[in-house]
């Protein structure tokens, strides 16, 4: 490299000229005036005939564009895409060394005119991508002043680039913060709304179940007197009834009991839904419970003329659960089986499956069966396959829906396998030991 001949038009000493530039650069708060000062200084103090300063801005970190130029430079130059590694200027950036471009080479991809020029990377090695200084010179020797200028300009552009980056980062960060704040506020408001709604729902729900509990008490009180007097009439307390009177009073009695059963079932569903059905947990053997169920349903079994059998797997362990509720579910399943089986048999099976630690109690009948499309519906409130008021089978239509709810309360479930004409199998699945609620 040559030391170069300095053209000092302002009659300054070389060191004064350099000092003046440094002061000017340090006074600049934006890259463009920096670049402008640099190209002007080159024009005044070196033999550079034309020059251009290319730099990346934080807004477009992947593109070098012309910040300032002097002499016959292409002002409309499109800029250099940094990922365009085949571009001759990008190659200069890549090797961090000044590169000489002889006159007439590579037009029009280069921003300077017809003359040969140097491309000098700006900035420290780590941030060498900040920019390039192009200086059109008479020969392939880089003057010391140009090298020095590139060094100063690079340092200043790096500083401005970084501070602009920082500003941008701060702006983004504060924008992010305010958005976060807005989202957090919105979220807190939503939470509050939801909390209030949940509270209102809970209150409405509690009010509803209290209302229903009151209603069923109010309904049962007069019904109790009706059933009591009806029973006394049937017992002949007021004298023997003739057969026709007896038949009529008998119907009052059976309809009254049906109504009472409905009211009781509705009250139970209300209690379960409101979480007010108490659990009475204890340890007990299943076989004795099944014997009790059969004993209680003995009149129904006898009337049905079906073959009712019980199959107990050997060595059943004891259960830890709510005995009364399990009994109620099995009574419901068995009385349904008896009701919907015109002929054949009903089989109750109890098994224990050690691997999951669960019991199954299934009630299998040879009855009318249930079509697949009705199989989910029958677990809903007030549903039988035939829900018409004149349906052939009695009952409240709440038995299975209560049983399924009770099974859930006991951490178990109720499943059904059936096909029309093939009978039905209802299975109660229960954990051997309930986790306490």
């Amino acid at each position: 490299l040559t030391s170069g001949i300095i053209l000092n038009s302002a009659q300054q000493s070389p060191s004064e000229a350099r000092l003046e530039l440094v002061e000017r650069l340090l006074g600049c708060e934006a890259p463009e005036p920096c670049a402008q000062a640099a190209v002007e200084w080159l024009a005044h103090h070196t033999r550079t005939r034309a020059s251009a300063c290319l730099a990346a801005m934080p807004e477009h970190p992947q593109r070098l564009s012309v910040l300032a130029s002097h002499g016959p430079a292409r002002a409309q130059w499109a800029g250099l895409e940094l990922d365009d590694t085949a571009h001759p200027l990008a190659q200069v950036l890549g090797c961090h060394q000044p590169g000489w471009f002889p006159a007439g080479c590579g037009q029009p991809t280069l921003p300077l005119g017809q003359e040969g020029f140097f491309a000098v990377p700006l900035g420290r090695q780590a941030s060498a991508r900040v920019g390039l200084l192009l200086a059109a010179l008479p020969g392939p020797e880089l003057p010391a002043d140009v090298a020095w200028l590139a060094c100063c300009l690079g340092a200043q552009l790096s500083r401005l680039y970084e501070s602009r980056l920082l500003q941008r980062l701060q702006a983004l960060s504060s924008e992010f913060e305010s958005r976060l704040q807005a989202v957090t506020t919105e979220l807190a408001e939503q939470n509050e709304r939801l909390r209030r709604q949940a509270l209102q729902l809970e209150q409405a729900c509690a009010a509803r179940s209290q209302f229903l509990a009151n209603v069923s008490h109010e309904l049962r009180t007069p019904l109790n007197a009706m059933l009591g007097y009806t029973r006394m009439l049937l017992q002949g307390v007021s004298g023997e009834l003739n057969p026709s009177q007896h038949r009529s009073v008998d119907r009052i009695d059976s309809n009254g009991r049906h109504l009472l059963q409905l009211i009781n079932d509705i009250l139970d569903i209300t209690r379960i839904e409101a979480g007010r059905m108490p659990l009475h947990l204890g340890r007990f053997p299943l076989p004795a419970l099944l014997r009790e169920v059969l004993a209680e349903l003995e009149p129904l079994i006898a009337r049905s003329r079906l073959v009712v059998s019980v199959a107990l797997a050997p060595g059943l362990p004891r259960l830890y659960s709510d005995r009364q509720k399990i009994k109620r579910i099995i009574i419901n399943l068995l009385s349904n089986a008896l009701k919907f089986t015109p002929q054949g048999s009903v089989r109750v099976c109890a098994e224990y499956h050690p691997a999951p630690g669960s019991f199954t109690v299934s009630v299998e009948d040879t009855g009318i069966g249930i079509r697949p499309e009705d199989q989910e519906r029958i677990f809903e409130d007030f549903q039988q396959v035939d829900s018409s008021p004149t349906r052939a089978y009695g009952g409240t239509g709440l038995g299975l829906s209560i049983s399924r709810r009770l099974a859930h309360m006991l951490e178990g479930r109720l499943t059904l396998h059936s096909a029309p004409g093939q009978g039905s199998t209802f299975t109660l699945h229960l954990p051997r030991r309930m986790r306490r609620p």
Partner: protein, 132 residues
């Protein structure tokens, strides 16, 4: 129908219920079964009747106006003069703990047919005879 209790002084049953039709129904049935019957419409009346008549058994509905059945029973059981008289509670829900029981001797879940109630009365009287 149940057997008529023997003897000249048949047991006296106090029926406490605020719903007249139910109260009279139970009273009618108990009389039919041969018992003597007195009636009260609330807990305060019941206490007066107990002190005046010394019944052999009290049938007490638990939800009553003025003074409920739980409170009336608690007072009867706290009083030495009336402590020994059996109280059969008529209630929609069985008590869930001892603390709530107020010292009742038996519970009958409402709704309850007259013959079921009469069976409870007989059972309690039988226990009382056996005890002393």
């Amino acid at each position: 129908m149940t057997d008529t209790p023997a003897g000249d002084t048949q047991p006296l049953i106090l029926v406490v219920d605020d719903y007249p039709d139910a109260r009279e129904m139970y009273a009618d049935y108990l009389e039919l079964c041969g018992y003597r019957v007195a009636q009260a419409g609330n807990g305060a009346e019941a206490l007066e009747q107990v002190h005046a008549l010394r019944p052999d058994v009290i049938l007490m509905d638990m939800s009553l106006p003025i003074m409920d059945g739980w409170e009336a029973t608690r007072r009867l059981k706290a009083d030495e003069r009336t402590r020994a008289i059996p109280v059969v509670a008529l209630t929609g829900h069985p008590p869930e703990s001892q603390g709530q029981s107020a010292g009742c001797d038996a519970y009958v879940l409402k709704p309850c047919l007259p013959e079921e109630l009469t069976e409870q009365v007989q059972r309690v009287l039988g226990q009382r005879r056996a005890a002393g």
